[in-house]
């Protein structure tokens, strides 16, 4: 497996740390004029999403992580696994609940997601920035109110709960920003 020296560190680089694949978010070179050089690095653990800070002695090297991102279409879930397919090749991947845990509420069949593979196994899935989901449950709205002020909780077909304007009704499709979990607009057919 290839190794990276600290002098190659930069945002986006994928390395192995404590047996987990990680991505460098930020790298700062620290060196007193007459002293030891360090690299102070912010790293995201790609398996659990956690961000940690780590310091390396400059000149050290670390193992690279065989990590890549691919575009896949979400097919279905059988309760245990979530199944995805690469549209061009029809190649299929099944992700376990660890890989989809954080995003399962945004997964909608046929949506194109970004999947991160480590040694060819899915370790995380990022949904599209915007998804369109049907409202399955919400308090009856006030018909005349189109201001959107105030708002109320609504449950989506995927199980996600989103704050929506008062005029949104059960059965309507809405557009949601998955990065913030916020309502964007009503979807008109």
């Amino acid at each position: 497996m290839a190794r990276y020296s600290t002098s190659e560190f930069k945002a986006g680089l994928k390395i192995m740390l404590d047996q987990d694949p990680c991505a460098i978010i930020e790298n700062e070179f620290i060196k007193p004029g007459k002293g030891q050089a360090f690299n102070r690095v912010k790293i995201r653990n790609l398996s659990n999403g956690r961000v940690i800070e780590r310091t390396f002695k400059s000149g050290e090297s670390v193992e690279s992580a065989d990590v890549m991102d691919i575009e896949v279409q979400f097919l279905y879930s059988d309760g245990e696994f979530w199944h995805f397919m690469v549209p061009d090749t029809f190649e299929q991947y099944q992700a376990d609940s660890n890989a989809v845990e954080a995003v399962v509420k945004w997964l909608k069949e046929q949506d194109i997601c970004t999947m991160t593979l480590w040694n060819d196994n899915p370790i995380s899935v990022v949904p599209p920035n915007f998804v369109e989901l049907a409202v399955t449950e919400t308090d009856p709205g006030l018909k005349g109110d189109t201001s959107g002020g105030g708002g109320k909780p609504a449950t989506m077909e995927s199980g996600a709960v989103v704050r929506v304007p008062l005029f949104i009704q059960i059965g309507e499709m809405i557009r949601i920003d998955t990065r913030t979990g916020e309502y964007v607009s009503r979807v008109k057919d």
Binding site: F29, P32, K34, Q36, T55, S58
Partner: protein, 324 residues
């Protein structure tokens, strides 16, 4: 990358650089300090294991001669001092390999000056004067503090006496656990780690802070203090927490200098670094006699960063490493 032919610094910063150089020269003309030039390409270099140098070969087949880009003009300037130059200053480039970052560029500008018969304290005062001159106004918030005091104030640890256990406990409790694994029983590395992560950020509120009395194990080319053998006559200059420069009451004892070279070469060997041939001409100059003097080097690019209040060297260097 189509844009990489353009300078990364804006024109305002480049004008400020020209003004800084003009003011520095005026400052030393007024004080009758002689401007000098010494070679960037040298036949010898320093032994400091923390400094990675660039080297190249002068072609004269079959015995190509290894040459070094200077990491600082210190040795050559001391040869001038030993030859009777009196107080001198130089503005030049220095080169340090494998140092790139927000505060590091492998090629950078140095202002280095030596004052014959100056104490370290007098030189520190002159640094304040010079920084004020470069800024174009007097400085408020100037502080001089000893290394021991500032280190103790921030951490509660004694930097002069190494206690691995209490250093490790401190690191554990203060979010720098990695230090325990990296530094092990290396006192000097512990000091670098804790100083960089904890002490230096505490200096950010100071316009100009000079930390003097560095631990003797980090004496570099400074004399060991006459009263206290645990400290050296060395200071560092910080502007808003950024390390700007380093000054010494210069070591002139050739025997001690040679011992330090040998000691550093031993460390180089242990670290798997190439052993460096000691600079004979420099040692010969010390043998003939270096006058008592204090000297300091300031990183001009960083100084300019503080004048322009920028976040990165790339904002003040026209073509930093990535565009060089």
């Amino acid at each position: 990358m189509q844009e990489s032919w353009k300078p990364s610094a804006d024109l305002k910063a480049l004008r400020q650089r020209a003004l800084m150089l003009e003011r520095i020269r005026a400052f030393f003309v007024e004080k009758k300090v002689l401007e000098v030039e010494t070679p960037l390409l040298c036949s010898a270099t320093g032994t400091d294991p923390q400094l990675d140098f660039f080297s190249s070969f002068y072609h004269c087949e079959p015995k190509n001669k290894q040459m070094f880009l200077q990491t600082s003009p210190e040795f050559a300037m001391k040869r001038l001092l030993a030859a009777g130059s009196g107080s001198i200053f130089q503005i030049c480039k220095a080169f340090r390999n494998a140092e790139v970052g927000r505060f590091h560029n492998p090629e950078f500008s140095i202002l280095e000056w030596y004052r014959v018969d100056f104490t370290l304290d007098q030189l520190m005062d002159e640094v304040v004067e010079l920084v004020a001159k470069v800024n174009g106004h007097p400085l408020n918030k100037v502080q001089k503090i000893s290394y021991k005091n500032v280190f103790e104030q921030v951490t509660g640890l004694n930097p002069l006496v190494f206690c691995q256990q209490s250093y490790a406990e401190y690191a554990d409790k203060n979010g720098i656990k990695d230090a325990v694994l990296l530094c092990e029983d290396d006192h000097s590395m512990w000091l670098d780690f804790i100083f960089s992560y904890k002490v230096q950020p505490s200096l950010e509120s100071q316009m100009l802070c000079m930390v003097y009395g560095y631990p003797a194990i980090q004496s570099s080319l400074a004399r060991i203090n006459k009263q206290n053998p645990l400290v050296s006559d060395r200071f560092e200059v910080f502007i808003r927490g950024i390390e700007i420069g380093n000054g010494f009451f210069e070591l002139s004892d050739v025997i001690e200098q040679e011992q330090r070279f040998d000691q550093e070469n031993k460390v180089r060997k242990k670290k798997g670094l190439a052993v460096v041939i000691k600079d004979d001409k420099f040692l010969a100059a010390l043998r003939s006699g270096l006058p008592d003097c204090s000297g300091v080097a300031l990183g001009l690019d960083r100084l300019l960063m503080t004048v322009c209040s920028t976040e990165s060297l790339a904002d003040v260097i026209a073509f930093p490493f990535g565009r060089a």
